[in-house]
């Protein structure tokens, strides 16, 4: 597992039914592009988050493919429509096979 990886998300605790809410997500990750070389001139292997998804009660909200040009600590901000109370599940897929996930509940106010 890549070191120092920690997912963070910010979701409002509650919203009115049918409201559009803003979700912010960030994962600390070095996003090594595979283009750099170390001191001895050997290429540093690519190690990035290659996919990010968000689901709400099992339904896909966003599904992102990440490429090596994306810089360190990738940050996503997007809107989602909330019709009912439920759980947002966020998942990040690492090149090395690791999967990081976290979830947040939202209530209907």
């Amino acid at each position: 597992m890549a070191s120092g990886v920690k997912p963070r998300v910010k979701v409002p605790k509650s919203a009115a039914a049918g409201d559009s809410i803003t979700i912010k997500t960030l994962i600390s990750h070095k996003m090594e592009s595979g283009q750099r070389k170390d001191k001895e001139g050997n290429p540093i292997p690519r190690s990035i988050i290659n996919r990010f998804t968000c689901e709400f009660n099992g339904e896909s909200v966003i599904d992102v493919t990440l490429e090596p040009a994306i810089s360190t600590n990738p940050y996503f901000e997007f809107d989602a429509m909330v019709k009912e109370a439920g759980t947002f599940k966020f998942t990040w897929y690492d090149d090395d096979g690791d999967v990081y996930d976290t979830s947040k509940d939202i209530a209907i106010a």
Binding site: G4, K6, R8, K10, K24, L26, S28, S71, T72, N73
Partner: protein
């Protein structure tokens, strides 16, 4: 002729626009997380002879950069604060202690960052917060010193700054610290390098002017450690000094050198009254 007149008028408008852009955000106020009020402009402390009002570096940045510092989730520096918490809780050295063993939580150290650098009676010299942390590590924890401007140290300093945000910088410049302070002042006004520039030439005489593409600030250090967008990491104040001295085309002092400690004390005192802001976001 008429066409020429129009283009002159258009140019004047463009110049006015450019001038407006240079001071964009200068009037804005900073509130972090809609909770912590940060003083970004105030009356200069009495010892400053040539400046009436002091401004945080935040006021010189673009709206987009300013916005990053208004919410901890958007502030990339807070990632490093979280990493600092891990260092704070990690036991090290022969005593098996961590920072948390004595201080419990970083929040108990609220206000500490605001008064450093500070005279240390036992050592009989001015201590920066990094020197104090390393003394704790060697004398109380029986641990190795952290590298002065290394990642773990900078993250710890960012953590201590973050819990003091909103408190006024208030370093003591009288008493035993006075001679170090005066040395720092001398360094501030000494021209160095092939370009023969002192700190004051840019940051006192020309703040708010453009130096090529850069908008010169007053060089306040209340926001350090600072997350810089250009290198996507926290930057220590001594590394920033080094960069500035290098830009005058001089051989620089080393981070942790007595010269930079004296300069840090003097510069901190120029910001007495502004709020602790670290980790700030700058370009």
């Amino acid at each position: 002729m008429r066409k020429m007149m129009t283009s002159v008028a258009a140019m004047t408008a463009a110049i006015a626009l450019a001038a407006g852009a240079a001071s964009a955000g200068q009037e804005d106020n900073l509130v972090v997380n809609e909770e912590i009020e940060i003083v970004v402009r105030t009356d200069a402390p009495a010892h400053m002879e040539n400046v009436d009002t002091i401004y945080s570096g935040w006021t010189f940045r673009s709206d987009e950069t300013q916005a990053l510092q208004m919410d901890d989730f958007d502030n990339p520096g807070m990632i490093f604060v979280d990493m600092g918490r891990e260092v704070f809780d990690a036991a090290a050295g022969s005593e098996g202690k961590s920072c948390a063993s004595c201080h419990e939580s970083p929040e108990n150290l609220k206000g500490v960052k605001a008064v450093y650098p500070k005279w240390n009676d036992q050592a009989e010299e001015v201590y920066t917060i990094e020197m104090q942390i390393n003394e704790c590590r060697t004398d109380r924890m029986g641990a190795e010193k952290l590298k002065y401007n290394g990642g773990d140290m900078t993250n710890l300093v960012a953590l201590l700054a973050s819990v003091s945000r909103g408190m006024p910088v208030n370093v003591a410049i009288d008493g035993p610290a006075q001679s170090t302070w005066e040395w720092g002042k001398e360094l501030y006004y000494s021209r160095t390098g092939q370009l023969e520039l002192s700190c004051a030439n840019c940051h006192e005489d020309n703040y708010d002017n453009m130096i090529r593409a850069d908008h010169l600030s007053q060089g306040q250090i209340n926001g350090f450690p600072a997350y810089r967008l250009k290198n996507a990491k926290l930057n220590t104040v001594h590394d920033r000094f080094k960069g500035c001295v290098r830009d005058t085309r001089a051989e620089t002092y080393a981070p942790a050198s007595p010269e930079f400690v004296a300069l840090e004390l003097y510069l901190s005192s120029r910001g007495n009254g502004l709020s602790v802001e670290g980790p700030s976001v700058r370009n």
